[in-house]
């Protein structure tokens, strides 16, 4: 069984929200030109989240002062690649920040480049865990889970940040996107649980998850409750008051944090089964 990797939980979830916001801004800009205020708010919040995430990741290291060395094995280490892509994303974010105060440059292409770099960072984060030693992780599921977190929380964060700046159809498309991410997350989990069961370690992971009250809390708070709220709200727009949106974001946020914690805790690796 794995351990509670809090620095990694904070790093992965926050960085994924941050990149989700940037991708969401790009999506909105492609449909209708982004309002200046929304762009500025989105970029600032995304950057703050990214900085907290990067800072949190240092606490996972035994020697954070030597973290700069972690970029030296790009040839085969996904951790090195992850750090490279996050540094590049941060550089892209700096340019977006500059653009948010000097709106003259190429906004959409900058958002596109930063989004691509951020998504490559998220994919690299997930690939770190694709290890033959851990059958529950040795598949495409970590990549899907990490990207879904970005899509789901990024979209909800943008709805909250946007407030009155968002046009009703923009708000609706973001909420539809979040709803889609929840449905895909549930489907992915069922697929994941049924496919990893084929070996002893995978079956142990599934058994751990299904017998853990935290998993059912995660499913109830992070999937079921927001799913119902979004379905009801999308039928009649009036239900979506600011407080309902905050509630949906909080429920999904808690669900994703619990889900990520369980991702680390439930991992059962292949190991020597002998007496010590």
């Amino acid at each position: 069984m794995g351990t509670w990797e809090w620095p990694l939980i904070v790093f992965t979830v926050l960085s994924q929200i941050s990149i989700g916001i940037i991708v969401g801004l790009l999506g909105l800009d492609c449909r209708n030109q982004l309002k200046e205020k929304l762009f500025k708010q989105g970029v600032v919040v995304s950057g703050i989240l990214l900085m907290i995430a990067l800072l949190a990741s240092l606490f996972h290291l035994g020697h954070p002062e030597a973290a700069y060395r972690a970029i030296t094995h790009l040839g085969s280490s996904w951790l090195s690649r992850e750090i490279l892509f996050f540094i590049l994303t941060f550089v892209g974010w700096l340019y977006l920040l500059w653009l948010s105060f000097h709106p003259a440059g190429k906004l959409r292409s900058s958002l596109l480049i930063t989004s691509v770099l951020g998504l490559l960072g998220i994919i690299s984060s997930a690939m770190i865990y694709v290890l033959p030693r851990v059958p529950a992780w040795n598949n495409v599921a970590p990549v899907f889970f990490f990207i879904l977190t970005a899509g789901l929380l990024g979209a909800l964060a943008l709805v909250i940040l946007g407030g009155k700046e968002l046009q009703p159809e923009q708000k609706k498309s973001l909420l539809n996107w979040a709803l889609g991410c929840i449905i895909v997350s549930i489907f992915m989990f069922v697929l994941y649980a049924s496919t990893i069961k084929v070996n002893a370690q995978g079956a142990a992971t599934v058994q751990f998850l299904l017998s853990s009250p935290l998993f059912w809390l995660r499913a109830g708070l992070g999937w079921l409750a927001p799913l119902i709220l979004l379905l009801i709200g999308l039928k009649s727009q009036k239900v979506f008051t600011a407080s309902t949106l905050y509630l949906v974001f909080a429920l999904v946020g808690v669900g994703e944090i619990l889900g990520r914690a369980l991702f680390y805790v439930s991992a059962v690796g292949i190991h020597i089964s002998a007496l010590f």
Partner: protein, 188 residues
């Protein structure tokens, strides 16, 4: 890489004295917690006769080392003789190698907040000496060998033992002899 050095462990000879573990600790004066070498006892489910059977395992200096692949700081290198060397000074304590090794052989030192492991006493080997664990093994259950086809074709040499992860994951440079299932003779 011109050759692959590794260990040959004979479970028929091993008495589980942990002399190899002690020799390793003595050679490198390691802290109490990390166990670069460790003696294991086979479980009854895997070896069902009423005798205790042991095997001793340190880093397996795998042909396909996962630790080396995942390490972000290039702390691991593989020498021409196949030894996987961990550079303690480069390690930043990310512990990714711990997650990746199916044998749990990189060990985290909580005092130094770094990973450490068996480097197959490469400095002794370079001087023509045996590794400390091999030299200390009284029943000569542990040997330093070159892993090659000739060894694998020898009668009784096994690539794995019951209870060990599949060697297909990392191709470990360790081979085993025995344990043989004994024959029980009753007086009646």
């Amino acid at each position: 890489m011109t050759k692959q050095l590794g260990f040959l462990h004979n479970s028929e000879k091993c008495v589980g004295c942990q002399g190899c573990e002690m020799a390793c600790k003595n050679e490198y004066q390691t802290d109490a917690a990390p166990r670069w070498r460790q003696v294991f006892q086979l479980r009854e489910e895997d070896y069902s006769l009423p005798t205790r059977m042991f095997f001793s395992m340190a880093c397996n200096h795998c042909a396909n080392p996962e630790c080396l692949r995942v390490c972000p700081v290039k702390a691991y290198t593989k020498r021409e003789d196949g030894i996987v060397v961990h550079d303690h000074d480069r390690c930043i304590g990310c512990r990714l190698c711990l997650m990746a090794c199916p044998y749990d052989r990189p060990q985290f030192n909580p005092a130094q907040k770094k990973v450490e492991k068996c480097n197959l006493c490469y400095q002794r080997i370079d001087k023509g000496e045996k590794p400390a664990c091999v030299a200390a093994c009284i029943p000569e259950a542990l040997q330093l060998v070159e892993i090659n086809e000739a060894l694998d074709q020898r009668m009784g040499v096994l690539k794995t033992l019951p209870g060990l992860p599949s060697p297909d994951i990392t191709q470990p440079a360790i081979r085993f002899i025995g344990p043989k299932q004994g024959k029980q003779i009753r007086r009646d």
